[in-house]
Symmetry: C2
Subunit: 267 residues, 2 copies
């Protein structure tokens, strides 16, 4: 069942069910086209207020799709019937800020800690669909690699123990398509929204596009401009920098698939 | 200094300073044109998580402009240098859900309780400016009364102790201008966004437009359609229904004036 083509026509609930049964553990890129996928951050309740405030103060980098009740294992609005502890194909577990495990199921961890709060954060997959629909190329998809991401010199608004600089993703856009790329993404503020910088990486503290801080470098062709968007790695970086006692996230590329359409995120 | 014309050309910081010195205590309607005003809700930290979650889950009715740090008296991002306890012309104080006082300054209450968390919630004044700029009439402004507001049958997503139904405001719009009214407000999701209902009040549980649950009735002329938007009274109603031990809000019409332009709320 790690054959992705067999999954292409399944509903989000059906794919989550397969994952829950342990029958799929691969990346979710390209699954359930048209439906939003999200980043997962799970923290003890004692840290949840600070993190919710951090997201509220940095909504472009940390667009919250849903916050589950403390102790709940389901995103009741975005994916009724979901099981947060089993419906992602792979997780990362951090103890005191250090990566300790990459399991395919974290039910035992939820059972052991009834105080966990789960945050679902919007993901650029949603706006990349919109870019492609508008005829705007997305280079890292063409090249089959991860999007290049860079630390910037732009400080986030701090909240409690959480602070850090904005992380951005970069997509090279042909110069004649840059206005359309801005307009399309500006219309989707719930999944990162408009770019923060167009064409001047040094203005936000980025020195070398060929060596991203996360993800992979992509080709920038003649006539293309590097465009930078707020990235969902920002909240994860802020959490990790604070070395929380306990944290669970999705493994990179192994996202939570919601029942929410990308189209609904434009409303 | 309760002469409003003398205030018309002052900056938000200058008006807040006048209010702080006790030199103005009237409604803020029409002051500092072009700048966003906000609803205030102040709660003890023990209730703040539930309320922040309620706002996150009901963003159209409860669009958070800013949440101050626990114990802080300033909205550092929306109004640097502001004093939340003194910069609104009039407050309401509730003990166990019951209105006990309407003071012009609540510094003593903030001094007595270092655990208070202040929430600033977007206000329809901002989108009404945008409607007027687009040539769309706003009836309650023409008639010099409060906007009519109605309880609906639409449940909010509950969060902890907070629950309740959506409260909406109504503006009669000439039918040929309804599409423009939707488009203009849809572009401002941080101040309530698009309408929830156009023309069928009974579909959302409203029986009698002539008797609003809050505010004043307004004239609906032939050829006009009642259009209903999520209203910032929703979070206040949810808070009051839960009878919190302690709560401070702005007095109706006596809002917090920010340094944020309405134009910036469209980004």
């Amino acid at each position: 069942m790690n054959d992705r083509s067999a999954l292409a026509s399944l509903s989000p609930a059906a794919v989550r069910s397969l994952i829950r049964r342990g029958e799929f553990s691969g990346p979710t890129t390209g699954l359930c086209p048209g439906y939003a996928q999200g980043n997962l951050v799970v923290l003890p309740k004692a840290l949840a207020w600070d993190f919710l405030l951090f997201c509220q103060r940095n909504p472009k980098a940390c667009p919250l799709l849903e916050v589950a009740d403390a102790g709940s294992r389901t995103f009741a609005r975005s994916a009724p019937g979901s099981d947060i502890a089993a419906d992602l194909p792979r997780y990362r577990v951090y103890i005191k800020g250090k990566l300790t495990d990459e399991p395919v199921n974290v039910s035992d961890l939820f059972d052991a800690r009834p105080d966990l709060v789960s945050f679902l954060i919007g993901c650029s997959f949603s706006f990349e669909s919109a870019l492609l629909e508008a005829g705007i190329p997305v280079r890292q998809i063409e090249e089959g690699v991860n999007v290049p991401m860079y630390n910037t010199s732009i400080p986030c608004a701090p909240a409690g123990i959480f602070h850090g600089n904005l992380v951005v993703s970069m997509r090279p856009i042909p110069h004649r398509l840059v206005p359309a790329a801005v307009a399309v993404t500006a219309g989707m503020p719930r999944v990162h929204g408009m770019p923060v910088q167009i064409g001047f990486p040094e203005a936000i503290g980025i020195r070398d596009l060929a060596h991203p801080d996360y993800g992979d470098a992509v080709t920038i062709r003649p006539g293309e401009v590097p465009v930078f968007w707020p990235c969902g790695v920002t909240p994860q970086a802020a959490v990790m920098a604070s070395r929380p006692d306990f944290c669970i996230t999705h493994a990179p590329g192994h996202m939570f698939i919601t029942d929410v359409t990308n189209a609904a995120l434009r409303l």
